[in-house]
Symmetry: C2
């Protein structure tokens, strides 16, 4: 084992896979940017940046997300660290990917225009630079696992949402159809949804009741070892 000083130092980056849900198009979207510097300038990429000596990896990821979206306190979890020698043709860069879930409606549309960021449907992504495509695949797989165990779906929806919208979201994440009655039965027996006295009336004459996620009762259930897994048809 060598002394610290004898060892080679590396550039470290973070890249953010930023998921959003488009409630109208019923599609998961990713916030992507046009890369502004060489190599690969002008091509689509994840939001990323180098880790500074004054910040942790988590802080770097938060910073990059904030710079792009103006949002703080976003759902953000480490995904995986990519460390192949040649993954970035510009230099050896070790990059830690982070998964972010945001409510599309929270984003200031102007802001993202300025920074050259755009929401792109997961179904038809443009080609991404380097290994960013692999990062997206892994992050999506993690999201699919995560949502079985934790109600992270609510991070992607507005405060008020209908059961139809919630089901559409689950179908988009699983990329599978779900039986309506079974879905409602299961999600309602979890007792983490509050029915509101208000209806969403854009999409039907009858209207659908809004619900709200109750974070407190969720915490209670988690402590009791509650299992949110939703095995879906």
């Amino acid at each position: 084992m060598k002394l610290y000083s004898e060892n080679r130092r590396h550039l470290n980056a973070v890249d953010c896979i930023i998921f959003g849900y488009d409630i109208l198009e019923k599609e998961i979207k990713l916030l992507l940017i046009k890369r502004s510097f060489e190599p690969a300038r002008g091509l689509w990429s994840l939001a990323g940046g180098f880790v500074k000596e004054t910040e942790s990896l988590d802080e770097a990821a938060s910073r990059i997300l904030f710079q792009l979206t103006g949002l703080m306190d976003v759902y953000l979890e480490q995904s995986y660290t990519y460390g192949s020698i040649d993954r970035d043709p510009g230099a050896r860069v070790i990059s830690t990917a982070y998964r972010a879930l945001i409510k599309i409606t929270d984003i200031d549309r102007e802001l993202s225009q300025v920074s050259g960021a755009h929401w792109q449907s997961l179904e038809r992504l443009p080609h991404l630079i380097f290994d960013h495509g692999v990062m997206v695949e892994r992050a999506l797989a993690e999201l699919q696992i995560q949502i079985k165990v934790k109600p992270v779906g609510f991070e992607l929806l507005p405060e008020k949402f209908t059961l139809v919208q919630l089901q559409d979201l689950y179908e988009a994440i699983y990329q599978k159809d779900i039986d309506k009655r079974n879905f409602r039965k299961k999600i309602l027996t979890m007792n983490v949804l509050e029915k509101l006295d208000e209806k969403e009336k854009e999409t039907s004459r009858k209207g659908a009741f809004y619900y709200r996620f109750n974070r407190e009762s969720y915490e209670t259930y988690i402590k009791q070892g509650f299992d949110f897994s939703l095995d879906v048809n």
Copy 2:
């Protein structure tokens, strides 16, 4: 966004959480080493080392595992990257943890003596340096999740093992008792175990039949979307 060259470089390390299973003591063990350099020389730590410019993270982890154990082609998966600024008091080091599963019997006892490595029971670990305790906790949690979905337990057992031994292993990982008949029913319906014509006779007069993991039928089932989860009492 700055140019590559303007950004600060960091030391990158990998640390290996090496799990083994002691079939006699029915305990999960970790292979730990006495640290040989400052800071924290002489204290217990995970096996780790710096990432070289000529190797990927995965390669660095394999190399460190090989240097310590002499084993190649070991089950090895990335766990998590630890990037707090002050996690290592010697310098800023970003460390990626890897989870390794090895058969204790595969290890050349001499070799580990030379390198100052020792198996320590997970139940009564010594204090570990830096954030290595946290790394262990996370890796164990990952192992507990992993074993529900993939039969990784077989990585920890010798080629031939009895159902009693397999159950003991699951109990050690889950840190929970499991009903014998239900365990056997479930594990046998998975059809990935081959019963051998041979008995283990050390621990009882009657003797227990040896089984062998059939990797081929496992692959077949995985492709069909088989679910190995074993929800246990």
